[in-house]
Every structure is written in C-alpha cells, then in structure tokens.
C-alpha cells in the first residue's frame, strides 16, 4: 500500500491524457467543499434530544457553529504545515490522507451526534476534518500546474471551482438524507454523517488514485515557454523556505487577504443584508423588514436564501472564468481588475439599495462574488508565475494563512461596523453603507499590494541542478495525448 501511494508510482506513462487530472482534483474539491454546506446540520444538531425543538440539555447554536471556525482554522494551518510534506510525498498520499481525515471526521462526528458528545464533533469535523480540508485543498495544485503550464489558471480554476461547488451538492443531499433518516425519536443527523463520510471517503480516494504527475521535463505538445524577460512568469524555482522571506510572498499574502476579507464579509452577511436593505420590497410590500408580519418575514427569508445561493453560483463561475481569463491577460492585470472594479462595485451598493434597484443590487453582488472566487482560483497560478512550479503547492499552503486571517477579519469588520451604526441610531436599511465603503477601502489596499508584486530577484532562485519539474524519475520528456 505504501508503495502504491509513493510519488514514483504516480508518474504518468506515455500517452497519458492530462485531462484526466482535473476530474480527479474535482472529486476531492467537491467533497471538501461541503465545509461551506455544514450549516445545514447546525439546527438539527441543536435538537438531537428535543427532536422537534431544542430541549434544555440540547447544544446551543453557538456551540455547534464554532465547529466551522475550527475547521477553517485547521484548513489554513494544515495547508501551511503540511505543504512541504505534500511536495515530498506527492499528491496521491496527500489525497489519501485528506480522504481519511475528511471521511473519518464525519464518522467521528456521527459518534458525537449519536452519543451527544460535542467534543467528537469538534474533533471530527473541526480538527481532523479541518486537516483533511487543508490537505485536500492543496493536494492537486502543483500537479495541475505541472500538467498545464500553458493554462495554469484554467487548470487550478477547474479544481478550486469544486471547493465552491461542494456545498451546492452536499447541502441539499445532507438535507434529503436527514429527512430520510428522521424518525419521531431521532433527527437523522448521525446516520447522515455516516453516509456522507463514506461517500466523501470513496470519492476522495477515487480522486487521489486518479492523480498522475508528469515526467520531469514533460511539456504539452506544441507549447514553448514565453521569453522570461518579457513576462511576469519565471522559468526558475524558489524554495518554499526562501519564498516566504521575499517581499513578493507578503505582497501576494496581502492580495489574497484583502480580496478574501472583502468577499467573505459580504458572504457572511448576504442574507440579512438584502433583507434589511430591501425589506418588504422583495415581496412587493412597501414596508421595512421590522414592519412585516411573521409570514411575510418567512417569505423574505426564503428569497434571501435564493440570493445567497445565487452568490454561491457566482463564486463558482468566477473561479473558473477569472482564472481562465488570467491565462490570457496575466495574473497581475486580473487582480488589478478585481480590486479596481470591486472597489467601484462596493461603493455603488448603498446607492442601489437607496434607490430600491433590486436587479442592479443583485448584479453588483454577483460580479463581486465572481471576483471573490476568482481571487482564490487565480492565486496558485500567480504563485507559480512568481516562484516557479517546483514548490508551488507548499508555498500555496503557507499563503492560505491569509485566508484564515481574512475569515476572521472580514466578518468581524462587517459585524462591528453594523453594530456600531445601529447603536448610533442608524436605520437597519442604511446600516451597511459605511461597511461597503470600508470594504472598498480594503480592496484599495489590495490594489497597492498587487502593484508591489514584481518578479523575484535572481539571488532567490534555486541553482539550476536543483530545479526541474519534479524530483522523480529521470527520462526523456514525453508529450501527452491531448
């Protein structure tokens, strides 16, 4: 088994079709993307004893929701810590480890839900599952970049799109499974965890065993690298332990952190934002949200859920679309567009809300969320352009700490400013205006960070004999059957 997982055993044979690698990566990313859909379990988990409504012994919502924060924290941490290990052992072993952590995490959570032990849930879905998220997230990145040197953005966009799309599959599936397993004496959560754990384990194992690495020196048929002097794309490699000491790494860290902070801030408040800004207008009633009846509020909430779903879709489309576009226009220009266009979009939100222009309001947020997703999907290719492909997986892992910081910063900023506005007597419909200007400010900072990204100085490059597409076997460069 150990040999089967080794890096050497994943080297592709002659004639291997590189288009088999993206679906393998997608199988893993679609599985771990369920992290965004875990919210579907929170309410049922607060009723495992009371069944129809929370009993006094049931967990509080805040107790179970913290699982998500733990998972995201361990996602960033494990990606940073295990990135180098991944580069050494190869993507298959990392993918199998991710499958064991994520699938096994669900099984541990099932024990927790069955025995009403919250620690099992935190350990399973939070800590162990979070490590599975980190390992799974970075596992295909450098492999895809090596297979698609001509379309790095498209390749990583295809995989990372899956992380955005996982919740679209997992959340409704989880909901259906819980309804299937629910009885008058059980909410059906632990059984759902068992089924999902097994399904995700199998899907991720299939993905991990689908990974193949190209032979050293392999290039796609008919492709020649662009002359380095005329582009931001290096043909050299920077070691992961050196990369994070360069100003370029921290400029890119700032780029990711600012882009994610703004986007995740919006995502975290999307539902209350549209409800409070438009209130009754969403259902054709000219009244503020507070003046609606309970039934009307439910109707408004379901429309807001639709808005959140639409944003998820925009997030996914942006991951593939912007990352692919970056292959044509360059990474730096792509992020310039994100930050410049994004800042304009955020400043237009209060006006669209004040004028009651729902289609314009929705369109603005759709564009913003495409750029949020695009930022995630384009960053691995940006890193490969600047630091080379050899250690890009490990460097990407360390850069994901920016995501962890942004995950705290964005929602904290949005909630703090909103609360401050409300405390000062600002109407709920106007409580987000200042927030939007602050988020636009974050994007201006991101714009400056992106401006600072330049090619790495030659002294940071690895010596030629240390570089290459991979450390595995020697052999003649092969061309793929495209």
């Amino acid at each position: 088994m150990a040999g089967l997982l080794s890096r050497e055993r994943t080297i592709a044979g002659p004639g291997f079709n590189r288009w088999l690698v993206p679906p393998a990566a997608l199988a893993i990313h679609l599985s771990i993307g369920m992290a965004y859909g875990l919210s579907v379990f929170w309410k049922p988990l607060t009723q495992t004893i009371g069944i129809t409504q929370p009993a006094p012994e049931d967990w509080k919502l805040s107790t179970v929701v913290v699982t998500f924060s733990i998972a995201i924290f361990f996602l960033g941490s494990s990606a940073a810590v295990f990135g180098r290990w991944l580069e050494r052992v190869g993507p298959r072993k990392a993918g199998v480890a991710a499958a064991c952590c994520w699938g096994g995490g669900f099984l541990l959570a099932a024990i927790g839900a069955r025995s009403h032990q919250i620690w099992f849930i935190w350990l399973g879905l939070g800590i162990i599952g979070g490590c599975g998220l980190g390992l799974g997230y970075i596992s295909p990145v450098s492999t895809l970049i090596k297979w698609f040197p001509d379309r790095r953005g498209l390749a990583t966009g295809m995989a990372i799109m899956g992380f955005g799309g996982g919740a679209m599959i997992g959340a409704p599936l989880g909901d259906r499974l819980m309804r299937h397993f629910a009885t008058p004496t059980a909410v059906g959560v632990w059984q759902t965890f068992v089924v999902l754990g097994l399904v995700y384990f199998l899907a991720m194992m299939a993905g991990a065993f689908g990974y193949r690495l190209p032979r050293p020196g392999w290039t796609p048929a008919g492709w020649t690298p662009r002359p380095e002097a005329r582009s931001m794309v290096t043909a050299h490699n920077v070691h992961v332990d050196v990369a994070w000491k360069t100003p370029q790494f921290w400029a890119l860290w700032g780029v990711l952190c600012m882009n994610v902070s703004a986007g995740i801030g919006v995502l975290s408040m999307a539902s209350p934002l549209i409800q409070e800004m438009f209130g009754g207008k969403l259902i054709g009633v000219p009244a503020a949200l507070a003046q609606l009846t309970a039934e009307q509020k439910l109707e408004v909430a379901s429309i807001a859920a639709g808005f959140t779903g639409l944003l998820s879709l925009a997030n996914i489309i942006g991951r593939l679309g912007w990352a692919s576009l970056s292959d044509a226009i360059g990474r730096k220009r792509t992020y310039m567009i994100f930050f410049a266009l994004g800042a304009v979009m955020y400043t237009l939100v209060p006006t669209a809300g004040r004028l009651g222009l729902l289609p314009a309001f929705v369109a603005i947020f759709v564009v913003i969320l495409t750029m949020y997703g695009g930022g995630f999907a384009t960053i691995p290719a940006y890193l490969a352009d600047i630091f080379g492909t050899q250690y890009v997986g490990a460097i990407h892992g360390r850069l994901l700490t920016a995501w962890s910081v942004a995950g705290l910063l964005g929602p904290w900023l949005v909630n703090t400013i909103r609360e401050f506005q409300l405390d000062r007597g600002v109407a709920p419909a106007d409580a987000y205006n200042v927030t939007m200007y602050v988020l636009a400010g974050l994007l201006v900072i991101g714009f400056c960070c992106n401006l600072a990204v330049r090619p790495v100085e030659a002294r940071y490059y690895l010596a030629d004999h240390d570089t290459g597409a991979g450390p595995a076997t020697s052999g003649n460069p092969r061309r793929s059957a495209e």
């Binding site: 040999g3 050497e8 055993r9 080297i11 592709a12 044979g13 002659p14 004639g15 291997f16 079709n17 288009w19 088999l20 679906p23 393998a24 997608l26 199988a27 679609l30 899956g162 799309g165 679209m168 599959i169 409704p172 299939a206 689908g210 193949r212 379901s302 429309i303 859920a305 639709g306 808005f307 779903g309 639409l310 998820s312 879709l313 996914i316 929705v362 076997t473 059957a481």
Partner: protein, 49 residues
C-alpha cells in the same frame, strides 16, 4: 516484484488513455455538479419571481 517491473506495470496501466475514459471521469464529477447547480438555480429563482 522488482521496482523496475512495478514501474512497467504502472506505465502499461496508465499509458494511452482513451478519450472515453476522460469523458467518463468528467461525467462522474459533472453530473453531481450540474445537479447542485440546478438545485441552486431553483432556489435562486424565488428572487426574480
């Protein structure tokens, strides 16, 4: 089995991938994704009702 024989076996197993295998792999991940997109669009349609 020696290391070299193992490599030959692996190469034979992965060499000359057919487009049918590629299509099947994409269908395996594409169908659940399309189902997820469909479910999301159904929910989002409420916004424009």
């Amino acid at each position: 089995m020696t290391e070299s024989k193992r490599h030959v076996g692996e190469n034979r197993a992965t060499g000359g991938t057919s487009w049918l295998a590629v299509a099947l792999a994409w269908v395996a991940v594409g169908v659940p994704m399309l189902w997820g997109v469909w479910m999301t669009l159904k929910k989002a349609a409420l916004l424009f009702r």
